[in-house]
Symmetry: C3
Subunit: 208 residues, 3 copies
């Protein structure tokens, strides 16, 4: 594994998402191994979906570092538990950071595969958000993605920023950083100021 | 995108399923973008699963019209909301129409890929029903597929009709129309007259 | 289909998992066809996921016996219902046997595909456990995998035993049998003596 900028973002995002998955498992009667798997699917779910859609070998099969990073996240949770968990917005912050980093990784890989811009943005959004959706489905909850202020839309915004930077030939590391920050900042601002799109109301009583 | 009969069925099915996904999202505290994604996964979930199983590039990556059609479905929901939602059986009708159309699209594509008849019927059933299953799982409900009167079985029946027509060398558009109508009519009749297969009862108390 | 040892394990595992899926559907207002599909996804979910990850044609598309075996499981359930269901630990035993057999099948296929040992063990675990996870998600429950005593960890242990046997050049049928028994015995012992890994506690109140 080459240690370029994308790789570092990728491992940071893995760690962040693994922590988010493990944290949401806590207090749900899961043992350490169950929590590890929850962290793992949260961390690799999006990228695996992306790779299946692209028809390439899932990234983690060629590189053990994602499984090791998730192990490190579990270890960190076990050792620094109180500190990690007491940090009030931990789940939210980790989720946002993972979202931003993975979105960028997904866009970069799709761009390298020669896909059109709009598909790259969709792939970035999938890479960023599907892991969290799988986590929530496994925990038997309606995914955060659908319940919370700006989420997947932040990925789309990050993707647009990515391609604006790309259009102006900015250095790759720079455009990746800017795009990831866009996602993270949009999510944080949206939460802090309770910004969200209009809610879809039902026009009549639901008769399902 | 060539505008042949299958394509038109495909976009109609997409619209129908997207409406069904968006409608079920309403009144669940989802914003417009969340509802759009719900419509999208309902609409493209089945075909994407089919394409992954067939090992081909997911259809929507090569043609933006499915994303646009879902956008049109959201727009239609926002504009005609009261009319669409008050129409009592809207969800059911849209779900049935999507089911019928997608089943036929799935069978035709699998047949073109040279698969044996029984696999084509399975692929048609998957194309028709998986989108709704994903929708229900994301909304944290036991899928309609398992709860309701004749559902996936209607797809199988439609598939059998398809191959009877195929056997007698009927014109493709005709066999596609007949098969789709079979699925739709079976579902509507089953609901109207409460026809269903026997329920599987538990022989003893569940001790799970 | 060649009737070697792996094939027999595969069909036995299919039957066991199908029974487990069908049994968990009973008493949930599902009809026979819904129960059949539940049995089917439980039985082929893990292997299908494995094949998608490996980038090969899903095993059941090339061989109808998995669909037939699931049909036999449904028939057996309908005929011997009381006996199958009254057998108190039926669900657990069937689940464990399926887990053990599928783990071994998954490892053997991945090894034949030339994957590194650790990926083979992951693939074995996926083959063994994903079907049950899909079953639980469709039934709208937090997967057994995460709730119960040693589960996926038993697959990993079975995988390690497999490669120890492999290392000592034991006959394939023997190493497959030993590995499957390891998984099954570990699960049964873990349940009987309530052995489990430490539970991950939350360090603070969950503020999700």
């Amino acid at each position: 594994m080459e240690l370029n900028f994308i790789t570092i973002l990728d491992l940071l995002g893995t760690f962040a998402f693994a922590i988010s998955g493990i944290r949401m498992s806590s207090g749900k009667q899961m043992d350490w191994f169950g929590a590890y798997i929850m962290g793992l699917v949260t961390a690799i779910g999006g990228g695996t979906t992306r790779d299946l859609l692209l028809g390439v070998t899932p990234f983690w099969m060629e590189d053990g570092s994602y499984f090791l990073t998730t192990g490190a996240a579990l270890l960190a949770t076990l050792i620094f538990k109180n500190r990690i968990f007491r940090w009030g917005n931990a789940l939210f912050i980790f989720d946002s950071v993972g979202l931003g980093l993975f979105t960028v990784v997904g866009i970069s890989k799709s761009l390298a595969a020669g896909l059109p811009v709009w598909v790259c943005i969709v792939m970035g959004t999938i890479t960023g958000s599907v892991g969290g959706v799988v986590r929530d489905v496994l925990l038997n909850e309606v995914p955060l993605l659908f319940r919370k202020d700006i989420y997947a839309l932040a990925c789309v915004a990050g993707g647009l920023v990515y391609f604006v930077c790309y259009h102006f030939n900015m250095p790759p590391s720079f455009q990746e950083l800017i795009a990831a920050l866009t996602v993270i900042v949009i999510r944080i601002i949206a939460l802090k100021f309770h910004i969200h799109l209009p809610i879809l109301k039902s026009g009549a009583e639901d008769t399902t």
